[in-house]
């Protein structure tokens, strides 16, 4: 099959929804998932209702894809949740929820898709980090820590998977206007934008631009990298 097969997590809304439509537009087969149903209807789109931290459900999804298409070219681990709160006021149940979705979900998708990619000796994995980690933003200890774990996973899997011709990279977006940040007070947002080198909100196509670079055939020498938007760095 010469059509590209892309798996994207968290596709019901936000960045994941945008990326689904963007890559369907490029004639890819896109398989998405989220906890709730998606209203995206497209002949090349397939949706799975699952929680990314549900290991069994993820195994089933990846097996189904492997049977149907025999390969996964690209995996975009976009599903993620945030928690913005002072640490003294953060219950452990929230910490658990954030880590389950962001870290466990990313890991299990990397592992399962990684097996299919390894068999085909090709794959590109893109994970989602955040500028909150390098900027050490107050109120985001849990969220930033979970994304920091994703950075470690990205860099180490890059090594472990390199013999299979699989690259593993991450993108670290600045704030982009989605539901994820809609409840953050404006002053907080403004001070955040001021910490960036380029002081504006990110746009959806800032994300797809970086992903296009990571998945490009020519990027087979690029792995274990985290690209932050807006000029942010450690």
């Amino acid at each position: 099959m010469n059509k590209k097969v892309m798996v994207i997590t968290g596709t019901r809304k936000g960045i994941g929804r945008y990326l689904s439509e963007y890559y369907l537009g490029k004639n890819f087969i896109v398989i998405g998932c989220s906890r709730s149903e998606s209203d995206l209807k497209h002949e090349k789109y397939e949706h799975f209702c699952l929680d990314v931290a549900d290991e069994k459900a993820v195994n089933k999804m990846i097996s189904a894809i492997s049977k149907k298409y025999g390969k996964i070219d690209y995996l975009i681990n976009n599903a993620g949740i945030a928690s913005m709160n002072h640490s003294l006021l953060t219950p452990l149940s929230v910490v658990e929820k954030v880590f389950k979705t962001n870290v466990f979900g990313t890991f299990v998708f990397c592992r399962e898709a990684g097996k299919i990619m390894a068999k085909n000796k090709f794959g590109r994995i893109i994970n989602f980090a955040t500028i909150a980690t390098p900027l050490k933003m107050e109120g985001e200890s849990v969220y930033a820590a979970s994304k920091s774990a994703i950075e470690s996973i990205t860099k180490i899997l890059a090594k472990e998977f390199s013999t299979y011709n699989i690259t593993v990279n991450a993108i670290g977006p600045t704030p982009i206007y989605t539901d994820l940040i809609k409840n953050v007070p404006k002053e907080k947002m403004d001070s955040l934008l001021n910490m960036q080198t380029i002081n504006r909100y990110g746009e959806f196509d800032d994300i797809s631009n970086v992903i296009d670079f990571f998945i490009s055939d020519k990027s087979n020498f690029i792995t274990g990298q985290v690209i932050f938007l807006g000029g942010v760095s450690y």
Partner: protein
């Protein structure tokens, strides 16, 4: 699924891996897969495990060799083809019971 069928699949998968690596070996149930005496290095074992999982999937058996059960046993189920067949046998039976 019968035990001898499981062993058959394992032998075939491991032999294919040996061939792909130009190893002059033939797999049988005593072939050591894991540990000092194994002909496989750690990456070789990972590759074989991936192949085995996908081979069973082709037969419509979803097995997972990365389970905590497998990692926590004193005697690794990956030691030989025979021990691995027993371990897979347990999972296959569990799945068959769920389907009924």
């Amino acid at each position: 699924m019968e035990k001898h069928r499981i062993k058959e699949i394992l032998n075939k998968t491991v032999n294919e891996y040996f061939e792909s690596q130009d190893f002059n070996e033939k797999a049988n149930e005593d072939t050591v897969l894991f540990g000092k005496e194994s002909v496989l290095d750690s990456m070789g074992l990972v590759n074989v495990i991936i192949d085995i999982e996908s081979r069973f999937l082709d037969e419509d058996y979803e097995i997972s060799l990365t389970s905590e059960k497998a990692m926590s046993r004193r005697n690794s189920p990956f030691r030989t083809i025979s021990t691995l067949a027993d371990f897979i046998g347990e999972q296959v039976t569990e799945n068959e019971e769920i389907d009924e």
